[in-house]
């Protein structure tokens, strides 16, 4: 596939790995923000191929993992309603709520459907005028433009049996939280390439200034990830802290202004509770007053949600990179993809699931 295969070339990967090895003279802890990058790293075995001194800390860039428990419970309550067709990306289907998940709701007769795009949910709404169609709009900044445009189009076409349950989260506040933490260990960041495609690099410039930490906008193919790592390591070895763009084929410094504009039109900033981490102020987007009619949270009154997290689950520490998944005592025992205690064990991007799936050999029996 053009623009994919070339960025997985084994010989070029070796070049990049050799260069990283040659430049590394001391231990460094890097964080890749995006769950998609975590997936690439673990799936290709990149962390094992890096010199031992380089530690990759897997960041909270898995929107599935950080969607607040309360939002999941709300989604489940809505999906269970007989008048609702609940549409979602595949990633969310098995995420555990306090006592249930979408998969099980489906098994009990709930109309839960996996779609590829929010536009598919609108189509379903058009085809089922006597039902309420709700789309579960989770994601980082990358996904927000899609959800924003979908709401705009629904509004334009007067499709009023459609609504969005929104839980967007933002990367820069998460980076701030990680860097402000007294126990932080991260010395350099691989910024999420497609988030930068949308939002540009300006916010990251500010973070580099404030925290004096290298940030490199990085793509998702194996060579992209290796290059991001290579550039961060070079900066660290040279004692510099700069913003760099290692994904120029898809990232421009200004981002996508049209997308930013539409997102501003439809969403507004809000505080968000990140599952496993806690409340991060001004770290999310919700539908603004002009689009409140399409807000599923307002359309469906859901009462009496008491969120209950497993006391054993340490996903917050995993998401902040404070522990590795296999350092959690429940990992592989009480917590497995089959019986997950927290979201990172379910999501394909979750660090715990990635470790379980791809690092089984290291799991203590």
């Amino acid at each position: 596939m053009k623009y994919l295969d070339e960025f997985g070339d084994a010989d070029l990967a070796k070049r990049l790995l050799d260069d990283i090895a040659a430049s590394t003279t001391q231990p460094w802890a890097l964080m890749e923000v995006c769950g998609g990058q975590t997936h690439t790293i673990i799936r290709n075995g990149i962390d094992q191929l890096l010199p031992d001194q380089i530690e990759l800390i897997h960041g909270p860039g898995c929107p599935v993992c950080v969607t607040p428990l309360e939002t999941i419970d709300r989604a489940l309550a809505i999906a269970a309603r007989p008048d609702v067709i609940f549409c979602s990306f595949g990633d969310m289907i098995r995420v555990p709520g306090s006592s249930d998940d979408l998969f099980r709701i489906k098994s009990r007769g709930g109309d839960v459907r996996i779609v590829y795009s929010p536009l598919d949910a609108v189509k379903i709404a058009q085809e089922n005028p006597d039902k309420q169609v709700v789309f579960f709009g989770v994601g980082f900044e990358t996904t927000a433009p899609a959800n924003a445009m979908t709401v705009k189009l629904a509004k334009q076409q007067g499709i009023d049996n459609f609504s969005l349950l929104v839980s967007h989260v933002l990367v820069p506040p998460a980076i701030r939280t990680i860097m402000d933490s007294p126990t932080r260990r991260v010395q350099g960041f691989l910024a999420a390439g497609h988030v930068c495609t949308v939002m540009g690099l300006g916010e990251y410039e500010a973070l580099v200034e404030q925290y004096q930490v290298p940030i490199v906008a990085t793509g998702f193919e194996p060579l992209d990830v290796l290059e991001g790592i290579r550039r961060v390591v070079r900066q660290l070895e040279n004692g510099v802290a700069e913003l760099d763009n290692a994904y120029p084929r898809a990232v421009q410094p200004q981002g996508n202004p049209v997308a930013q504009q539409v997102v501003r039109e439809v969403f507004e900033i809000c505080d968000r509770n990140w599952r496993g981490i806690g409340m991060i102020p001004q770290s999310g987007w919700r539908l603004n007053a002009d689009h409140a009619d399409y807000d599923a949270e307002k359309r469906f009154e859901v009462l009496g949600i008491t969120t209950v997290e497993s006391p054993l689950c340490r996903s917050g520490e995993v998401l902040q990179g404070l522990i590795k998944p296999n350092e959690c005592s429940a990992f592989g025992k009480q917590c497995t993809p089959r019986l997950p205690l927290g979201a990172p064990m379910v999501s394909s991007e979750g660090a715990c699931a990635a470790y379980y799936q791809f690092r089984r050999l290291e799991v203590p029996a």
Binding site: D18, C34, G35, F89, S117, A146, G193, R249, V251
Partner: protein, 86 residues
């Protein structure tokens, strides 16, 4: 979080005032909304995430990046510096 896949724009049309396209992902075709990439035309490559094109893929830039990868370590090789095997 960002499964964005590159594809080639095959056909463009307008539906209800919005630019839509058929994008070819190496033999698989999907309908994609081009609202966010007004400059993308038939024949261009674009990165698509959940049914929306987010940016035009810069071919020159992609080739430059690959060249960069090919040149990594080359200077060292030319100077006869061997990479420390780990």
């Amino acid at each position: 979080m960002c499964l964005g896949v590159p594809g080639k724009v095959e056909q463009v049309w307008e539906a209800e005032g919005t630019r839509m396209a058929t994008v070819d992902f190496g033999g698989v075709r999907k309908e994609v909304c081009l609202a966010y990439v007004p400059d993308v035309q038939v024949g261009d490559y674009t990165i698509v995430h959940v049914g929306f094109a987010l940016t035009k893929l810069d071919e020159a830039s992609a080739l430059e990046t690959l060249d960069l990868f090919r040149s990594v370590g080359l200077l060292d090789e030319e100077l006869g510096i061997t990479v420390d095997p780990r």
